[in-house]
């Protein structure tokens, strides 16, 4: 009871400072975790952008029409379990159909060629899109019946750079916020333990146990952690989605970020509470109560 009363001493003397520091630290912790989550979520986006490609495998002009299916099957097998989003064979007629959408005149002319001539002008090709490992192009090139090959892998390079930059910014902001919030928490708890250091040191001098004398610091830290944790959870619960929705409209680069998980609120609260409690125990252990005024003490 006495120890609890001591733990509340900073609240009696500086309630506003305690409250606003806890609110600030809680909001900062929650933002730090949100930014951390963003950087984690951007990683698969980046990975996909950097490895997603469209491979165009032109078929050997000599290849007989009835063997086309076999080549497509071989390519499909060669890709194995890789993420294929599309795999199709494009023949002259299908190519013309594609061209017609944008250039109807050209399609008309091509159709006029007809037969063998058409086949000579328009190569057949297999178009494969998906996320592939680096050796995939060579694997497809080696398939019998494939003439030359093209890949779009470098088209996304600038996009990947931008996402990487955004990701670094989120990491930086996350670390900076977490650091600031930790410092605020430690400072407030240290200030709190100084508030009751006189009482704790006298209790130790009367033979109070070491663990008991850390109770006020522990309570004070936990109390701060509870308040900051609740703030962190609330700001995550009510603010994270809202913020993210605005971020998504801001730039198409982050539009692929998934929904903010609701469990993040619990996570933010737990982390914040833990840091509060830890700082209480820490400050209790190193409190000025353990240093006597006249130099060395028997503690």
């Amino acid at each position: 009871m006495h120890l609890l009363k001591l733990a509340f001493r900073p609240w009696r003397t500086s309630a506003f400072m305690q409250t606003f520091s806890a609110l600030g630290a809680g909001a900062a912790f929650s933002s730090a975790i949100l930014m951390g989550w963003c950087s984690l979520s951007l990683e698969p986006v980046m990975h996909r952008l950097s490895s997603e490609q469209v491979i165009t495998a032109y078929l050997d002009p000599e290849l007989a029409q009835e063997d086309e299916g076999k080549v497509v099957d071989t390519i499909r097998t060669a890709l194995g379990s890789q993420a294929v989003s599309d795999l199709k064979l494009v023949r002259a007629l299908e190519f013309i159909a594609q061209v017609r959408q944008e250039h109807p005149d050209l399609a008309e002319q091509l159709e006029g060629l007809g037969g063998a001539e058409l086949d000579a002008v328009i190569p057949r090709y297999v178009s494969v899109s998906g996320t592939f490992s680096t050796g995939t192009v060579d694997t497809i090139r080696a398939v019998k019946g494939v003439g030359s090959i093209e890949t779009s892998v470098h088209k996304a390079a600038s996009l990947v750079g931008s996402v990487a930059a955004i990701r670094w910014i989120t990491i930086l902001v996350s670390v900076a916020l977490a650091f600031a919030a930790c410092i605020v928490t430690f400072q407030v708890i240290k200030f709190n333990t100084q508030q009751f250091a006189d009482a704790v040191s006298f209790m130790e001098l009367m033979g109070g146990g070491g663990a008991r004398s850390r109770v006020p610091g522990f309570f004070s830290g936990t109390l701060f952690g509870v308040l900051a944790g609740a703030t962190a959870a609330a700001s995550w619960y009510f603010g994270a989605d809202y913020l993210l929705s605005h971020l998504r409209t801001l730039s198409p680069l982050v539009s692929e970020l998934p929904q903010v998980p609701a469990t993040g609120a619990a996570f933010a609260a737990a982390i914040t509470l833990l840091i509060g409690t830890f700082s209480g125990v820490w400050a209790g252990a190193f409190s000025p109560a353990r240093r006597s005024a006249g130099g060395r003490a028997w503690l």
Partner: protein
Amino acid sequence: MISLKSVCKEFQGQRVLDQTSFELNRGEFLYLLGGTGAGKSTLLRLLATEEQPSSGSISLFGYTLDTASKATLQAIRQSIGYVPQEVRLISDFTVLENVALSITTGGRRALPAQAHVRINEILEKLGLGTKRDRLARTLSGGEAQRVAVARALARNPELIIADEPTGAQDKESTWSLMDLFLKANISGVTVILATHDSEIVRRVRKRCALLKNGRMTLEELACIY
């Protein structure tokens, strides 16, 4: 019971206690005398295990402090009733809470019934009966000092270390304080009392120790005043 061997205490090179040695047996009563700044409080802080000497060794209740374990040190501290010169009450605790704290810090969670009776008795005796529920910071200097004495006595100590406990008292309170110290002494408690009050020393004749220039001389009788 108490034994100091060549104890020195220095603060930033200034030697306050110089090779002080003395022994005190269980149940003795000792006045610690000396001018202001002589080092009385410094010596009592060492005895109360608040500070370590710069050199030399101190033993209390047969344990040498240098080698005592943490648990022993705690047990020693629980057997001491210490009245510091600066009183050191917990300002936002009531008188009763301050006094009760000296019993509960010993590890007990709740105050035993007989401790309640004892606390009330002591507070009554010291004229603090009506001030039980006052916050310590609202007390006068003399009242606070008496609460500090009550706090030291309530825990039934084996050793009382009192640093000028009558410094802020009028005649009447001085004698009720002295009465409590003497009663405790008669029941076997060892008492060390630092004081400037020559009248006490003259009226209640006990062994005296005089601190001067960092050295201590023991006198069998109060022959200083």
